[in-house]
Amino acid sequence: MAVKVLYFAWLRERIGEASEVVETNAKTVAELVEDLRDRGEEYELAFADVSAIRAAVDQDLVEFDADISGAGEVAFFPPMTGG
């Protein structure tokens, strides 16, 4: 399936894209990360330490074991610093 993937803050800078459409068979966020890591060195570097990364599926914060089947967009970003 095709899923829109978004990156924010230093993840966006390391990957060099704010968003892209990815063709994947991944069923969970964690599996999608594995697919993304295969896309190149910048992805490997960006996803080197997933404990420093948060994920959202269709704009809801989720854990990495979350289901992404049928998701419109998946986003990756560092811990948030609002306020």
Binding site: D60, F77, G83
Partner: protein
């Protein structure tokens, strides 16, 4: 109950006046505003802070946090304004306001909104000083602050 995400500045006094306009059911009005704090290192003054956000999720997350506060406390009104884009030291970043019949609900709800907004609203800050930029790390203490409200998620 309202949420606004915007680049432009806001007038705190005018927002509070508008929130209570024509109301006689409000006995307590609490507001908090967050400002861009300058650097205390004279060799590395903060030139500008860039606030990035996730359009769509930001509004959804803030509305969710506000709805949670409204469910927990008896609020007569509430408002969240959060800016994004480049901001200079001394500028306003955001505000929350909570109104209730008695002060305890307004105080507690304002703190709750701030605690959740810090770690659950998708904003990221980048500090720029002398041409170099660095992303502001999330603080463990901010994540810990959520625990006193009894649950980790928003």
């Amino acid at each position: 109950m309202a949420v606004r995400v915007q680049t432009e500045d806001f007038d705190l006094g005018a927002e509070l006046a508008q929130l209570r306009e024509g109301r006689t059911d409000i006995g307590a009005l609490v507001s908090f505003s967050g400002l861009v704090r300058g650097s205390d290192d004279p060799d590395h003054p903060l030139d500008v802070m860039e606030l990035e956000h996730y359009p769509g999720m930001t509004e959804k997350a803030l509305a969710g946090i506000e709805a949670e506060a409204t469910a927990r406390w008896n609020l007569q009104a509430s408002l969240i304004i959060h800016r994004y884009g480049p901001l200079r030291p001394g500028e306003q970043i955001m505000m929350v306001a909570t109104a209730s019949r008695h002060r305890q609900a307004a105080f507690e709800a304002a703190e709750f909104l701030m605690d959740f907004l810090k770690s659950r609203a998708p904003f990221w800050k980048k500090e720029k000083s002398g041409g170099a930029g660095s992303w502001v790390d999330a603080r463990v203490s901010d994540e810990d602050a959520l625990k006193r409200w009894g649950r980790g998620g928003a």
